[in-house]
Amino acid sequence: MIANTMTPIGLAFSGVLVLITVAISLWRGLDLGPDILVACGRAAAQLTLVGAALHLVVDDDDPLILSWLWIVAMIAFAAVTTQRRVGSAHRIVGLAALAFATATAVCVAVLFGFGVFELQGRALVPLAGMMVGNSLGATVLVCTRLAAEADEHRNEIEARLALGLSGSAAFAPHVRRALRQALIPQIERTKSVGIVFLPGAMVGLVLAGVDVSEAVLVQAAVMFLVLGSVTMTTAVMALGLSARFFTADHRLRATTGRS
């Protein structure tokens, strides 16, 4: 069980690799040295904090309500982050929270309802973290792509509206395109699992001494979970956001967010 041999001294030695990174930055004049050190220091501090917090939820006798509250906080943080990355043109924090919450609820219901994992904090919080974390990038991408589609293809959308199509029908090809662009990276990652890279959950389990076959099963379930979560989050987001591009009487609004 390799993970049990890990000590603070071992961690300090792994810091040699950070020093190599900083050295390369200095050597090639990348001017990234301070950023690298801040990023690594911040990661270590955040992991220490989250590790301490996880103690509140992962032990068998910890109340499950704390895990649920943790998930609510993650969703709120992801929604605010989505808003910040998309910009102020569209107020989407509520919609983003709904999208993350919907995907999380469905995934949690499937995973724990069917007994794929046992419902306890040790499983609930890390799995929800993977769902929300992996969905964040795709959610931001689908929002920015939708706004770009509405902006760049205004003539095409209005040509469909002029033919008597509803706003949602007129925008459907563009929603399709934005969703494909947001989902394809996750599908590609799913395809390359085990060939191009060994995913984190599996590596963690193997390092912790879990049987490889069992680690593979867990990792496959996690990959399906992430794929489902990313797809559901982006779909809810795309439907909700694209509806805001149109007035009730099927006119295309200016995509800067004003009505």
Binding site: N155, A159, R160, A162, L163, G164, S166, D249, R251
Partner: protein, 233 residues
């Protein structure tokens, strides 16, 4: 009153930096050719977009057959009062696919027949975006016809076409008006084209209607810009 006309009653449209339309009162009968003339920036295209309800007025009302457009089913209205843009906008897929966007229930034979009506009978399976400018505009017209419009709003539909393509579109429009009783509201600032098509001319300038009448009426108008718009000195 339930007459077949489109009317603007005290309609103004304000943009961020200027008044696009300013208190326009205008009634256009849904018959024959009504040409909206006037220089660039007069408000012609904005007026057309209001009639298709792609835009709404800042103040005033727009009516179709006496009913305020804001009270009508806008999708049904747009199918009845169609719109053809200045630059042809084609969708992905074949010419037939483009017609299916307007009317998914059209059979393959129905699509070919519609294309034949605009002189494009043999291009049903051709990629729409490979068509020439004139063919593309005729396909846009066929797409609008697929919705069965009573009126077609045409925003300078020949502005980007050569003389031969312009002639074909005009001939097609005249045939549709005569044979199928499709009324046209056609934006143009080409006096020669106005002379060829117009039953009624509406001359606009600076967001207002300067004059309305037949070419003969307007050729003797006191305002020289109105006379100029219809090609008279």
């Amino acid at each position: 009153m339930n007459t077949s006309n489109l009317a603007l009653n005290g309609v103004s449209v304000a943009a961020a930096d200027r008044q696009v339309l300013d208190g326009v009162d205008l009634t256009i009968e849904a018959t024959g050719f009504t040409v909206i003339a006037g220089p660039s920036g007069a408000g012609k295209s904005s007026l057309l977009r209001l009639l298709n309800r792609l835009d709404v007025p800042s103040s005033g009302t727009v009516t179709w057959r006496g009913d305020d457009l804001s009270t009508l089913d806008v999708c049904a209205h747009r199918r009845e009062v169609g719109y053809v843009a200045q630059h042809p906008v084609l969708f992905e897929g074949t010419a037939a696919d483009n017609l299916a966007v307007a009317d998914p229930s059209l059979s393959p034979d129905g699509r070919r027949a519609l294309l034949a009506r605009v002189g494009l009978g043999d291009i049903a399976d051709q990629e729409a975006r490979t068509l020439s400018g004139g063919e593309a505009q005729r396909l846009c017209l066929a797409r609008t016809l697929a919705t069965g419009p009573k009126v077609i709003l045409a925003d300078e539909p020949t502005a980007s076409l050569d003389a031969e393509a312009t002639r074909l579109i005009e001939q097609l429009a005249v045939d549709l008006a005569r044979r199928d009783a499709v009324a046209w509201i056609w934006v143009s600032h080409d006096p020669a084209q106005i002379g060829r098509l117009a039953d009624t001319v509406v001359v606009m300038a600076d967001g207002t209607v300067e004059a309305t009448g037949t070419i003969a009426d307007l050729a003797t108008h006191t305002d020289p810009t109105v006379r100029q718009a219809v090609g008279a000195q």
